[in-house]
Symmetry: C2
Subunit: 389 residues, 2 copies
């Protein structure tokens, strides 16, 4: 379903011969049939941002887009001017089909860094995708398959507002990092929003979702989140409701990324509460969620709270004030560390479920924050010592 | 040899029944017979610092120590006041043997966080170690074995100055992090230094050695580096020579830690040059050295420069000014990335050797810095999903 759930959108996902995996769907197309063509985007803050990010950041600056072309099988990152021309050519091919300007088409790419795309395959793929365009659930699903790389399953979301709809798809499994996580995400809505409303809602939604997941601490060169607005429902939404729904959609997609984190066997929710500010809570939660030693322990079903506090202890006092002697650590509901000392026996903690909740209370204030991450397994090492990305 | 290489020092390493591994040497004793008893120490900056760190930081503040007791088999971290009393008791037992004050004895511990030590075994072990004390090479070697945990081999160094000697031992394999790396290190010298000279030389030496290694980004609660000064050579050294030698000793021990990093199959030297300042160079090198994806690629003998630049790209412009389009990346002498784009073919890079050199040139200034790290292997995950530390 995904991006075709909202009215006014068509999609396609086809095998274009870009990926090394023969026959894999590797080119997705999403077209906004209007009546509105408003759009907003959020991109990686990596200084080595890929050509498609440079292109899309430029063309979305006027708040308008009619289509997005996404390919897996190659990131088109660190490819210089030749790479940038490839992104421009891709957008131009789609624009020709639409009878629109190239600046009305965003592009996104994912795959190996440092190699140009097989551009002939991409351009033929764009034409082929236009021939397959449909507003059906199947078309949305095809698109969500075409953007996958090491993802083991497509990740989509659909939500209903008061008279309008939101649909979305995302890819992401490794190179998922603090700040904007590494992924490509397209969200569509038939609500009637201005570009400014779309931009504000998208920034707010990504700030509390994609910005709070961390699979491996590695920020990508290609992160892209796009919100496309068709207005086809004719409904001007209550912006509070719309923002809440968009945040819910982004949170769902973000959690699905963590749930499909490369090689992972546990989803880990790290909540830090009792902090003096949300920022302090998030800094502590990030330090804990990023600790390889803890992530290995969780992979071994070991509720090793020593690795929680030793990571927490690296956050400077100036960033997060607290007294180590007041800190408590709960793992799956068992208070294994009480006031900086051993609490209940760690043998009481059950770790059979995929979900692991780690809650740290700093007992210093009233703010809290959560970061979602994965454990670190043999399979993560396997995937990333073999896969070139 | 290690700590007994310099005159005036005796050592012992014995099995005291602290470790779960029956018969493993797990208690080390180093005694400074003088005539001087000067000392300096550098400790973890982790806010959850262990009881022995709290004790040793306090007693070394007057610049004087006669002995150090080190145990493996338990970190005595996050153990509250009871843990602090155990460190005090351990120091007192050694002080009684010496006829000195407890404040003349430092202690250090390594092992599982969050459990008290089997204190009876520790105290009996201290007495037993005093009975075994000797200034022989074997005694120094025994001590270097007794401090090992997941280390696969003892790590020692000996150096000759102009009429004086430096000896040292270190343990460390996992939980090795930016800033002061996680380890316990004792260095001895028979040069005649004041406490102030010892302190200054030690800070300078650790700043360019232990502070620049990173096995897994995890900072420990128990890091301790001690320099003990007997003055037994009677030689007041040229401080420039002494500092250089001490830095050389620390660098050797630091490199040995990386060489014995948990489960590692490659030592990785990340050098960033052409930076506007040493600090900028080190920030970039740390970002690259800490990237799990890159460390997995190296484990798979894949010279994946895309993962070098994507990590480099996370360092803010305000921290390290450079233009991505000017950056070059050399891996084992092959310039795989030239001006932010593909350079020579990555197939030219040979990765058979244990040592891997990654050199990034920012082409922005004249400063440089190196961080030493390991690759990320199946064995690291294996060790850390099973070992409780």
């Amino acid at each position: 379903m995904s991006v075709t759930y909202a009215q006014g959108f068509e999609a396609a996902g086809i095998p274009a011969g870009i990926s090394v995996h023969q026959g894999k769907k590797d080119l997705a197309l999403v077209v906004n049939r209007g009546p509105l063509h408003h759009a907003a985007g959020v991109f990686t803050s990596n200084r080595f941002c890929a050509a498609p990010v440079q292109w899309s950041r430029k063309v979305i600056s006027d708040g308008s887009l009619q289509a997005v072309v996404i390919n897996s099988g190659g990131a088109n990152a660190c490819t210089g001017e030749a790479g940038y021309r490839q992104s421009e050519q891709t957008a131009s091919a789609a624009a020709a089909q639409l009878g629109a300007e190239p600046a009305e088409v965003a592009v996104a790419s994912t795959g190996l860094i440092g190699e140009l795309l097989p551009i002939d395959h991409v351009l033929q793929g764009v034409d082929h995708a236009f021939a397959q365009l449909a507003d059906t659930p199947q078309a949305g699903e095809d698109a969500s398959y075409a953007i996958m790389t090491t993802d083991t399953k497509p990740k989509t979301v659909t939500l209903d507002g008061s008279g309008y709809h939101i649909g979305g798809m995302v890819k992401g499994s490794g190179m998922i990092a603090p700040q904007l996580a590494t992924m490509i995400c397209v969200i569509t809505t038939d609500a009637a929003l201005s570009s400014e409303q779309a931009d504000e809602a998208l920034r707010q939604a990504t700030g509390t979702s994609f910005d709070r997941i961390d699979v491996d601490g590695c920020m990508s060169t290609n992160d892209t989140v796009l919100l496309l607005v068709s207005g086809a429902s004719g409904v001007e939404p209550d912006m509070e409701e719309f923002s809440a729904l968009l945040s819910q959609a982004c949170a769902s997609l973000a959690r699905q990324i963590v749930g499909d984190g490369e090689g992972s066997s546990h989803d880990i929710n790290v909540t830090v509460k009792g902090a003096t500010s949300e920022q302090a809570a998030l800094s502590c939660a990030r330090a804990i969620a990023g600790a390889n030693l803890l992530k290995c322990a969780i992979a071994g079903n070991d509720p090793n709270w020593g690795r929680v506090v030793s990571s927490l202890g690296t956050v400077p006092q100036s960033v997060a004030p607290y007294d180590p002697n007041n800190v408590t650590v709960n793992i799956n509901g068992v208070m294994v560390c009480d006031g900086g000392k051993p609490g209940q026996s760690r043998s009481l903690v059950t770790m059979e479920e995929r979900e692991v909740d780690i809650t740290v209370d700093l007992h210093e204030g009233n703010a809290q924050g959560t970061i979602w991450t994965d454990d670190l397994t043999h399979d993560y090492v396997q995937i990333n010592s073999e896969y070139e990305s």
